[in-house]
């Protein structure tokens, strides 16, 4: 089987022509680095993505704190993860790196805060 992948690992965005059988990659061309082959392999076995979103922060100087996943999750679970994020409310202050959801849905990835939100002075 042949397919062209756009590698999303880095901004180079290499177009990789891959030849494969099932999940076994036979050859890749067009990638500027070895991460390209690893990406194609992962895409065939179990495509994964990280996502970014926001959680509601109460009593803060801003209504939202941004969050992201610290490790990729299976692509087809993204909307399940979003539902978990949507349910979460934090109390200010929050700091970058604070864990909002530990091991979300048992997928091996944490939802972490990516923006400092200070407590609103009354």
């Amino acid at each position: 089987m042949k397919r062209t992948f756009t590698c999303i690992v880095c901004p180079n965005g290499c177009e990789i022509d891959a030849e494969y059988e099932g999940t076994n990659v036979l050859s890749v061309t067009g990638n500027l680095c070895p991460k390209g082959k690893a990406y194609v392999t992962q895409e065939l076995i179990d495509p994964r993505r990280t996502i970014a979103s926001s959680v509601r922060v109460l009593g803060g100087t801003m209504p939202l704190a941004s969050v992201r996943l610290n490790r990729p999750v299976p692509k087809d679970r993204i909307f399940d993860v979003m539902a978990e994020i949507r349910r979460k409310t934090m109390k200010a202050p929050v700091r970058i790196g604070d864990v909002v959801i530990d091991n979300v849905l048992g997928l091996g990835s944490d939802v972490v805060i990516t923006k400092n939100v200070e407590k609103e002075r009354a």
């Binding site: 996502i51 970014a52 939202l64 993204i78 923006k115």
Partner: protein, 411 residues
């Protein structure tokens, strides 16, 4: 009048990186003026990840990337006045600004660093026909509402233009429950990075329609639909291809323009190709002591490169302050065939420098060639070259002479 060694206009990624590097170069008397309530610039609303891959070898979100610089600036004791808008920069480097706290300010600076970033092209500039309902937003404005203000802008969304912010917003809106019906791009190729086409559109099955544009906006109160059509190579709609798409929201991602009102006010000429100032290899404009870097100089696709460029500026600005001037740059850098723009536009010929350029159209199997007086200085082979991707070339001083201009072309 206040006196400062260096005033930095704008506390976004470029301004923060420049300030830190100035400090490392031993310049202590630095003041950043930032019009927003917090430093960090546009990164504050860019909550997606992918920032810092080259600098930190990590995939950070915009706020995290910015915070690393903010924390370091705080540690270094760099002064940053927020909620402070610069109204004017004069030729003799007097900066006029206003703020609630500091009132009306006039600051005389030995060096002024212009790091104001860029703004979005609007519907007005496109002159898209139709009505003027609510529900038409530029991608950056929609991003600010959604990521900073907790406000959802719409439910049924059409995106015009395939710039990176538009692609990022297609995914962001989808994750938040909106239905993104499609992205329409008038050019026959996408304007954003390939990885964003992949992870923001393809992952969510959002169709990208190349050589298509919005030819009419409908709805008197709220947007009710847009009419799209296929376009020919002159971007003219092809009759018979019109299609009406019901939607309540139209997001425009149709280009970024360096924000150079202050630059013009200082009497500095802009390059019509970059829409930023003409600068030399030191990021110095035609006015000695006024420098520019980052998106105000030319629109970048990666913040890592903005930081890099701002640091190069800071090295030069620090040298300018210590030595009272910089080596003259008499040689012109010419953008040749298929080169959209090139920075810097002037070089000394006695110093190593970095060339930043964009190609004019997508090309496969080409070489970027740098020549001086017909002599080849450098040749870089590229499997593909896209307008969306900035190309960086390092030129060594030892290869340069003093007698001819430098030309960059794609062949």
């Amino acid at each position: 009048m206040i006196k400062r060694q260096a005033v930095i206009v704008g506390g976004g990624p470029a301004g923060l990186a420049a300030a830190l590097r100035m400090k490392e170069n031993g310049i202590d008397d630095i003041l950043i003026l930032e019009r927003e309530h917090l430093p960090g610039g546009i990164l504050r609303q860019c909550i997606h990840d992918g920032f810092g891959l080259t600098r930190f070898e990590e995939s950070l979100s915009g706020p995290e990337y910015a915070q690393r610089f903010i924390d370091r600036a705080n540690e270094a004791g760099i002064e940053c006045w927020t909620d402070c808008t610069v109204l004017d920069v004069s030729k003799d480097k007097v900066v006029t600004a206003v703020s609630k706290v500091h009132g009306f300010l006039q600051i005389s600076a030995q060096a002024v660093l212009l790091t104001m970033g860029c703004r979005e092209r609007t519907r007005g500039a496109l002159a898209t026909p139709g009505t003027r309902p609510s529900g038409v937003y530029t991608a950056g404005v929609a991003q600010a509402y959604i990521n900073l203000q907790n406000i959802m802008v719409g439910k049924e969304v059409v995106i015009l233009g395939s710039g990176d912010i538009g692609l990022i917003m297609a995914r962001r809106l989808t994750l938040e429950g909106a239905h993104v019906k499609g992205v329409y791009e008038v050019q026959p190729y996408p304007n954003g990075l390939p990885r964003n086409i992949e992870q923001c559109l393809n992952d969510y099955h959002i169709p990208l329609h190349l050589s298509h544009t919005v030819i009419e906006i409908r709805g008197r109160e709220r947007l009710s639909s847009v009419v799209v059509a296929a376009c020919d190579e002159h971007f003219r709609p092809i009759p018979g291809t019109e299609e009406e798409i019901p939607c309540d929201t139209l997001i425009l991602s149709v280009g970024l323009i360096p924000e150079n009102e202050l630059t013009l006010g200082a009497g500095i000429e802009l390059d019509p190709r970059t829409r930023g100032a003409f600068v030399d290899e030191n990021c110095q404009t035609a006015v000695p002591g006024i420098f520019a870097a980052g998106n105000v100089l030319h629109v970048h696709d990666l913040v890592d490169f903005v930081s890099l460029e701002a640091e190069a500026l800071a090295d030069s600005a620090a040298r300018y302050l210590k030595e009272g001037g910089l080596t003259p740059c008499p040689l012109t850098v010419v953008a040749g065939s298929d080169v959209g723009h090139v920075i810097p536009q002037k070089v000394s010929g006695t110093k190593d420098f970095t060339l930043w350029l964009r190609v004019r159209r997508p090309l496969n199997g080409v070489s970027v060639v740098v020549r001086q007086g017909g002599r080849e200085l450098l040749r870089k082979k590229m499997r593909k070259a896209l307008p969306a991707e900035m190309i960086q070339l390092s030129i060594k001083a030892q290869k340069l002479t003093q007698d001819a201009d430098v030309e960059v072309s794609v062949e």
